[in-house]
């Protein structure tokens, strides 16, 4: 399965496309440069015309190159057209501002209403999900399960699903068995059981900043304080700050989105993950890892996880299919390491078990090759979208607007010039039926006033581009 993606396997066209992509990213090939003809590719690489065409088609889809009739292929994208990446965040530590509940509910009251404000969300549009195949899976699940799924599931969760999660964990070079895994009602529910297992009211938890408001709200609901850590839009949490937090012994747990942080899109390099786990072990502070978007990577390989480097069971690795298959199924999981008994008890005591039928459906979906082939398409679409968004931001947003450059996931972080307040801008945009997630809801402190999170997990079309253009113009008029 992985071979196809690494380019070292069967798909020669991907290897060729990868080489050209790298040259574009490195600026060796610049916007407008003419690319080798198909015939040249064929003779240089010893491949068929079809393979050469596939490579160029792949790059075209990614918006990296374009065809000009009767002329050939040209580089469309170059670094110059991509907005600058924001700096590392600099939160000031623990603060008592609290999250703006009102603002969050204003932005999300229409959740589930039909997605007419998709830029604000952080889940892929229905059109990107394999709905027909999932429906077929539901039918098969009613046949496979005892009593068609009316009976209680085991407390640990559906065994088929747990086996598949363990099998998939191989892709991130993580050795797990189904005994290590407990299913949950989505990823946030997994984080909830983890936090309830390793913290008590009044404790402090360290998180990246900015960070998904759902995690901030959960912490607040549990009476926890949040220590917000400086985070870089590409490499994730600042390790010095992380160690500082653990060292002073005031942090009872850390909660990191290791791959494609929401809202930044940052991804911790492997060595940082390893170092973070070593620090967690050194200071004996549980590390809860939110890896909900890890399967949606744009690079050649599934990024590793902190769990990959976990020797002692100090990492509680959480995931779900809410960013890839079906948020409404509420299927998530956790591999809680040495905290398994506690987490299992939390699940049992708060909800007995999970929904049998949706777990079985996802389990069988993962068992076949359908998940991998769906993911391949999804990654391809989202990567293309991300590049299109970057282009649109460069084209339409105020000068000096910065934007993160996610290598996976479905959201990016935009930093507008400091004179623009995105809460004001949100009101103006809403009047035109455009929504986004204002920066203020991703922190408990008084910061990120000029920032916003944009969702690129939707179909790119004329409307999407028009919305981004209108949003940019509104911002410029400020």
């Amino acid at each position: 399965m992985k071979k196809e993606e690494t380019g070292k396997g069967n798909f020669v066209y991907l290897r060729i496309a990868g080489i050209i992509e790298q040259q574009i990213v490195d600026n060796t090939l610049r916007t407008g440069d003419k690319l080798p003809s198909l015939r040249t590719i064929c003779s240089e690489y010893g491949v068929s015309q079809n393979t050469a065409l596939s490579a160029y088609y792949h790059l075209e889809n990614k918006m990296l190159i374009e065809t000009r009739p009767q002329s050939g292929y040209y580089v469309k994208y170059s670094r110059a057209r991509i907005p600058q990446v924001p700096d590392t965040s600099s939160p000031s530590g623990i603060a008592n501002f609290g999250i703006s509940e009102l603002l969050v509910s204003k932005v999300y009251d229409n959740l589930g209403e039909g997605g007419h404000l998709p830029l604000a969300l952080a889940t892929p549009a229905d059109e990107l999900l394999p709905i027909a195949k999932l429906n077929k899976g539901l039918l098969l699940a009613t046949r496979a399960l005892r009593g068609s799924g009316v009976a209680y599931d085991k407390a640990e969760g559906n065994e088929r699903l747990r086996r598949q999660i363990a099998r998939w964990a191989f892709n991130m070079e993580c050795s797990l068995s189904h005994h290590d895994i407990i299913t949950t009602s989505g990823c946030l529910n997994a984080l909830s059981y983890c936090l309830m297992s390793v913290t008590e009211k009044g404790d402090t938890v360290a998180m990246e900043s900015p960070v998904s408001f759902g995690m901030l709200q959960l912490a607040e609901a549990l009476g926890l304080k949040v220590l917000e850590l400086p985070t870089h839009p590409e490499s994730g949490v600042d390790l010095n700050a992380f160690e500082g937090a653990l060292k002073n012994k005031k942090v009872k747990a850390s909660l990191l989105i290791s791959n494609f942080n929401n809202p930044l899109g940052s991804c911790m390099p492997d060595e940082n993950k390893k170092a973070a786990v070593q620090l967690a072990e050194k200071y004996n502070v549980p590390l809860i890892e939110n890896d909900i978007s890890g399967d949606v990577y744009f690079g050649p390989n599934r990024p590793r996880t902190c769990k990959t480097y976990d020797q002692s069971g100090i990492v509680l690795w959480c995931g779900s299919v809410s960013k890839t298959l079906a948020p409404g199924y509420r299927v998530g999981w956790v591999a809680p390491g040495r905290f398994k008994e506690n987490v299992l008890r939390m699940k049992l005591y708060h909800s007995i078990s999970g929904t049998s039928i949706t777990q079985e459906t996802i389990g069988s979906f993962l068992e076949t090759g359908r998940y991998e082939s769906h993911l391949r398409k999804l990654r391809h679409t989202l990567h293309g979208n991300m590049l299109r968004y970057s282009g649109a931001i460069a084209d339409y947003f105020p000068e000096c607007t910065k934007a993160s450059r996610p290598r996976g996931g479905s959201v990016l972080w935009v930093e507008l010039p400091p004179n623009i307040d995105t809460v004001d801008l949100y009101e103006k945009a809403l009047a035109r039926n455009i929504s986004f997630a204002p920066g203020k809801i991703f922190t408990l402190q008084d910061q990120y006033q000029s920032c916003m999170r944009l969702n690129y997990g939707l179909l790119w079309n004329v409307q999407t581009e028009a919305q981004l253009k209108a949003l940019g113009e509104l911002a410029k008029r400020n």
Copy 2:
């Protein structure tokens, strides 16, 4: 819908059967008494032979009467064959014994494994559930829902389901709208959100005693203390003790199973419910009502709820379809009264939303007449089973064994002679592949050593009777 059940409506045969049943219960008709002939019934009530036959068939099914060939109908059941009801429980107050986790997991580790130890459970057997109709409902739900249910549901929950719950609440003379209701992942999950909304770690919650171990475990997981209240096997919680608990202001909330308490089967009379709500209002202590089995009544009418008498929003009424349709769907709900905002936030923060597809399936099931016709069959079967269990206990268990006489639900409470320790008995029974729930797991105190809970929510057949007989003989040998 309700008319059919009250006997005042279309079904004359039920009215006739009801009159005879009452005479049997009152001991006006005694075991072995001959009943009026079909012809007499026809002329006395002015009904057809078919109607008269239906009435007798109904009573036969309930094990109350029997046919003797060439002779007629005779009373089979009489009060004499029914074991005595245990006395009101007398827990000593708050205790620190804690629940025997080990014993609970020993009894329940096989939950979901295929029900080979059904006497220990408290859910109806798969055979009693409308599986084929639910499967059809799942298919319809994939067609009715946006994106076939892959998308997030609203935080409040599926609207069709909430409307139906509000409509059904009419049966207990409770006026609710769908705006009053929040769906949850089963009833225990509803209780969890309620407790998290109205209590904090260290608070005390008043409950009936004995009480479902799930509720005790949930309270322990939340760091709450439990005040166990004296409870009568027929009329439920002792109101004087209840008032005492509320008066001393040390109780932050109460949690009552108003209808068909698990494990006792007790049902608070309407006037007691009303009085309990008045006390809750007087002392301003939220009353969380677990009404999970309220629809499984054996009498003519759906019993009312505490919520029926709630004027001020102090009652948080919780329910689910886990005892009637599909425990594995994890569909439950709460009408949290004045605590709605808090409870909704808990749901949102801990799990975002519920599973879309199972909620829609249950919503549409409740919308048609299928739920009522299923319930009618289920109640009939369970009532018959309860009577058969009573008979078997009288026939096979040690003399002086007492047993509760539930007027609904699917469990009853057995009190063996005091020299019998049901934890020892459990071990011996297990060796013969018989299981039950030992009394000790229904309290945090050192009591109920001679008690057990039995599940009659299964198909009555030769094996069931043989298991009860074997269990009785093991107990006698003690």
